[in-house]
Every structure is written in structure tokens, then in C-alpha cells.
């Protein structure tokens, strides 16, 4: 593995999958629309019924899905490298729960209702939870089990507090529960635009940190010997993880397992080189999220299963497989 040609072909296949997922996301749903009509609706948007559905509803949620998928996958790459822990994922580490707690605080305490407002609170929440998990578990040497347990406990703890805040208020609760399970439904083009700067900034940081992460994998001393500034690499990767998680959670709620599954898949396909892992993850993450969203739309008509629920149902067995296979998990 690892030849350039092979890696390029992986990229091409991933691109094709992503294109397929985008097309499915635009065409499928409670009302399937033929691909030809989808394309013509995108081209001229004459205001017909199909054009309304495609442009008004499916394009925005597809755009949000692209952002969220890329963000969560890269956040997973950064977290797994940073903690040298194969089980790191924004949800598993409790960073998503921190972002969610931030957003709920914005709604319940400060009465904020705009997504831009959510994002800032989400970022602060993600950063606080991230620093906490990092302080508790450290860089390396702490077993993946305890990291996962700590994350699960933080997730449960913050979850209970959030619901406690909301238990008092039935109306907010009703809005919140749809957001809290991780969903792309009902997103507007504005929302996609509002989180874009945060996702782009996180993406940039992840790309910049990629080579440094390769060096970190060899150990701090070696990385320093190779001329990398270890502290800066970590800071960049942590910044990327927080920005990407905070933005993704603010717009779509905590969606689990994308950040866990995609980096593993990417490493399996192109090897451990982080530049390639980042490139493949940024394509496969959105493909996975869009596929989960499409599945959620069609399996229980006329209702919808939220995207985050689909990824959790697919991801949990994957976690079991990883746990049983990985040698690294034994301690």
C-alpha cells in the first residue's frame, strides 16, 4: 500500500462516492424526484413543485451535510492523532456534549436564537470539554478504555444537566430534542453559510497540522528532532478539533461515530500519512453523513429518522469490532 497511483485512485473513488451521495440526497426522500428533474430544477429553478423541494429543502440540508461530514471526520482525525487513541471521536470524548451544553446555555440562559450565536457558544463549550478531557487523559499512555469511559460519563453528565434545564420548559424541550439527536432536516441556506467560515478555518488548521501529526506519531522527541514545534502542532490540531466540532454540533447537533469511523477507513485505504488521511476523510465524511441522512429519510415513511441516530446505529457495531480487533485496546 501507499503508492501514489493507488492513493490517487482511492481519492477518485471517494470523490465518486461523494458525488453519488450528493445526488441521492437531492433526489431521494419522502417524495423521490427523478435525477433529470433534479438537474433541471438546479439549473433553472422555474418555481415548480420539484424545484421548490430541491432548491428549498434538499439543497440546504445537503450543503449542511457536506460541512458537518467534513468537519466531524477531520475532528476525528485530529483527535485520534492528538490523543494517540484509536477510539477518539468528538462524541465519544464528550467534546460534542460540551458543544451541546454551550448551545443549550445560549438558548435557555441567554435567550439566543440565531445560529451564529449558537456557534460561538458551541465553540466555547467544545473547547472547555476538550481541555477537560485532555487535562484528564493527557497526551498518551492513558488507556483508550478510560478515555472512552471518561467521555461517556462526561456525555451522560452534561446530557442530564441539559435535560434538567429543559425539563422545566416543554416548548424549548420540543425544539431541542430534534436538534439534540443530530439532524439535517429543516436547515436553511443561511445556516450553511453561517457555519462555513468556522468549518473552513478548522479545515485549514487540520491541513496545516497534517505533516506535524505524522511526526507526533513517532513521539515528541523524534518530532522535535525532525524540526517540528510540538506545542504548535498540538495547538493547531486541538484548534481544528474544537472549531470543527463546535461548528458541526451547533448546526446539526451531536452526530456520533463519523469522526470515529472515517479516519479508520481512510487509514485502511491510504496508510497512516496524515496528508492523505485528511484528503480522503474530507471526502468520505460528507459521503457518510449524506448517506445516513438519506437512509433516515426513507426507512420510516412518512416520518424521518434523524441522521445522528442512523450513524449511531451503524457506528455502535463498528465500535464493537474495533474494540475486539485492535491490539492497542488491550490495556
Amino acid at each position: 500500500m501507499g503508492s501514489r497511483a493507488r492513493r490517487m485512485s482511492v481519492i477518485l473513488v471517494a470523490l465518486a462516492l461523494l458525488a453519488l451521495a450528493v445526488l441521492a440526497s437531492l433526489a431521494l426522500g419522502s417524495k423521490p424526484i427523478p435525477v433529470g428533474d433534479v438537474l433541471s430544477a438546479l439549473r433553472d429553478g422555474d418555481g415548480g413543485e420539484h424545484a421548490t423541494i430541491v432548491r428549498g429543502m434538499r439543497v440546504p440540508r445537503t450543503l449542511v451535510g457536506l460541512e458537518v461530514g467534513a468537519a466531524l471526520a477531520l475532528a476525528g482525525v485530529a483527535m485520534q492523532a492528538l490523543t494517540r487513541n484509536p477510539l477518539a471521536d468528538p462524541r465519544i470524548l464528550g467534546v460534542s456534549a460540551g458543544a451541546a451544553a454551550g448551545v443549550v446555555t445560549a438558548i435557555a440562559v441567554f435567550g439566543i436564537t440565531t445560529l451564529t450565536g449558537y456557534v460561538w457558544f458551541g465553540l466555547v463549550g467544545a473547547a472547555v470539554a476538550g481541555v477537560l478531557v485532555y487535562a484528564v487523559t493527557g497526551r498518551a499512555g492513558v488507556s483508550p478504555v478510560n478515555v472512552a469511559l471518561a467521555g461517556a460519563a462526561v456525555d451522560a453528565s452534561l446530557g442530564a444537566l441539559i435535560y434538567g434545564l429543559l425539563a422545566v420548559d416543554a416548548r424549548t424541550f420540543d425544539e431541542y430534542r430534534f436538534w439534540a439527536v443530530g439532524a439535517l432536516a429543516g436547515r436553511t441556506p443561511d445556516m450553511a453559510a453561517q457555519v462555513l467560515p468556522f468549518v473552513m478555518a478548522g479545515l485549514l488548521l487540520a491541513v496545516v497540522a497534517a505533516r506535524g501529526l505524522d511526526a507526533l506519531a513517532l513521539g515528541d522527541d523524534v518530532a522535535r528532532g525532525l524540526g517540528f514545534r510540538v506545542g504548535r502542532v498540538r495547538l493547531a490540531a486541538a484548534g481544528a478539533a474544537v472549531l470543527l466540532t463546535g461548528a458541526a454540533v451547533a448546526v446539526a447537533g451531536p452526530i456520533a461515530f463519523v469522526g470515529l469511523a472515517v479516519p479508520h477507513l481512510a487509514r485502511g485505504l491510504v496508510g497512516a500519512d496524515h496528508r492523505w488521511v485528511v484528503a480522503v476523510s474530507v471526502l468520505l465524511g460528507p459521503a457518510l453523513v449524506l448517506a445516513a441522512d438519506v437512509v433516515g429519510r426513507v426507512i420510516t415513511p412518512p416520518g424521518e429518522v434523524p441522521t445522528g441516530v442512523v450513524t449511531a446505529l451503524v457506528g455502535a457495531p463498528l465500535l464493537v469490532v474495533l474494540v475486539h480487533r485492535a491490539r492497542a485496546v488491550s490495556a
Binding site: A150, A156, G164, A167, A312, L313, L319, H324, V329
Partner: protein, 361 residues
Amino acid sequence: MTAPGGSACREAGRDLRAGLPGRPALRIGEASALVHRRGVAVTVALAAVLAAAVVASLSLGEVTVGPVQVLRAVFLGGTPEDLLVNELRLPRTALAAAAGAAFGLGGALIQSVSRNPLASPDVIGVTQGAGLAATYALTTGVAAAAVAPAALAGGLAAAALVFAIGARHGLAAHRFVLSGVAVAFALRALIEIIIVSADPIDGQRAQIWLIGSLNGRGWTEAAAVAGTLLLTGPALLWAARALHTTALDDDTARGLGARPVARRLGLGVTGVLLAAAATAQVGAVDFVALVAPQVARRLAGTDRPPLLGAALVGAVLVVLADLVGRRLLAPTQLPAGVLTAAIGGPYLVFLLVRGRRRGSV
């Protein structure tokens, strides 16, 4: 976690010292138990704290009743506060104490078996399984009486699933605990499907159940939990002794003539049963099962969570959480689970930081 070897040496050393002459021991015929002086003092102190918490829970509310009147109402009856104290506050407080004791005991057993201070019913699937069954029952208009049995069955079934997935590597292995995390994720996703597709009112009812609350519950629920505590009593007496060998690593335990896997299975099942029974009656009052055994262990200064101590700390925690939840934002009643989560989260972080510094987590 400590390295298995180091832990075993330390444990074995301590057991050896505990067996030396000059230590007080309690002997009744064949049976004998070493008396841990600090342990006894701590147990007595905890019982006193529990008694005070119970009296406070009976005293405070919309109408405050003085402690002396409370005691007279409970023990003599026929006082003006009879109805308020005995009919309204006593059953709820009894349930809180019983459920807390069951959570504490269940947590102590599960933590000892998995040798992981972070393992608790919500990590090994009990909470989520019970939650899934209860959510289904609450949102489909099943008779209210069916919610608790359904939750009990759900909790046990989920724990069995986790055992089945995780047991291949031996119950103590970390993979067992991680299998629980994975199953918990999947079950929570199913719970979320039900809540999102339910009517908002039903959804919120289910949500409050999931957090854990003692609102509107009483003698029936208390009797169910107390019954489970009594039924598991014999197993617990045996467990107190068996824990000595389960805390050793498997090879050492086998060398001492114990059957480690069978013992762990027995203790684990007892722990799961207690946690599931309590969850079925009061919902998932988070973190009590996690925190109580560790608090008791620290107070008693032992290596393993003491069972009676864990039960007492658990009872104190739930009684106080329910009391504070009732009074903090009165007349709004906060579910007890919110309070325990508020205390449990920071405590968990403390536990992890301390453990990391000492190299044991």
C-alpha cells in the same frame, strides 16, 4: 488501572497483613470476619448521616415540620402532621433510601468485578436497556403498572447482551467495558428514535423518566426495591468474602483455589440485578452507582469498595438529591437525577485527575 501484577502484589500483601494475629476478628462458630476498625466507625457515622438526611427529607417541604414532630409522627402516630409525614413524605423518602442503597451496592459489585472504578450501570448497558423499555412503554400508552417490569426486563436484557459480547475476553478485560459503551450508544440511538417520533408530552415524560425522578412514587416502588435488596442479601454476604479473591488477578485467585470467572459472573449478575431493580422504579438516577462505592472506599480507606458503606453512601446521595431537587426551585420539582448528575460529573473528573496522578486510572 494499575498494572495487574503490581495490583495483585499489593492486594496480596494487604490480605496477608490483615490475617496477622493481633487484629480484631469477629468469630461466630465457623464463620469469622476480620474487623476493620476504621470501617466500623465509618459505617456507624454514615448510618447517622443517613438518619439525619431522612429526618430532613421528612421535615422540609411546602410545610416545614420540626424534627421532633417528625419523629413523633413516624413512631407514635396520631399527630396533626401524621398525613403529611407518614402518607406523603415517608414513602418517597423510603424509596429514595432503598433505591440509593441498591445503586450503591450494584455499583460496588460491578466495579469490583470489572476492576474499574469507572464502570457503572450506565456504562454496562443496564440504564440504557431499562430506559429503552421504559421509553417504549411510556410513549405507547401501555398501562403505567407495566413500565417498571418492562424497565427491569430491559435492563437485564441489555446487560446480558453486553456480557455476551464482552465475555469472550474474560469479564475483567477492558473490552468488556468498551462493549458496554458501544451497546449503550446503540440503545441510546433507539431511545432517541422513540422520543423524537413520540408526541411531545409523552416524549418529555419519557425524558424525565430517563433522568430519574421520585416524583409521585411511593410504597409500591419502595417495596419492590427493598424486596430485591432482601432477596440478594444472601448473595451479598457471600460476596463480601468472595470479593477478596476477585480483586486478585485471575492466576493468583486460581492459585488460591478460587474459581474467578464463576465468582465474577455471580457477583456481576447480582450487581446488575440490584442496579436494574432500582432503575426500574426511579429511572436512571445517574452517577450514584459510580460515585457511592468510590466515596465509601475513600472514607473507609480500603482498596475495594466496602459493600455496606457503598449502600449507605448511595442512600444518603439519593435522599439528599431528591430533597434538594424538591426545594431548590420550588414549586418547580427538579428530577433527582439532575442533582446527582451535577455532583457526579465534577466528582468523576476529580476521580480521573487523582487516579491519573497516582497512575491508577
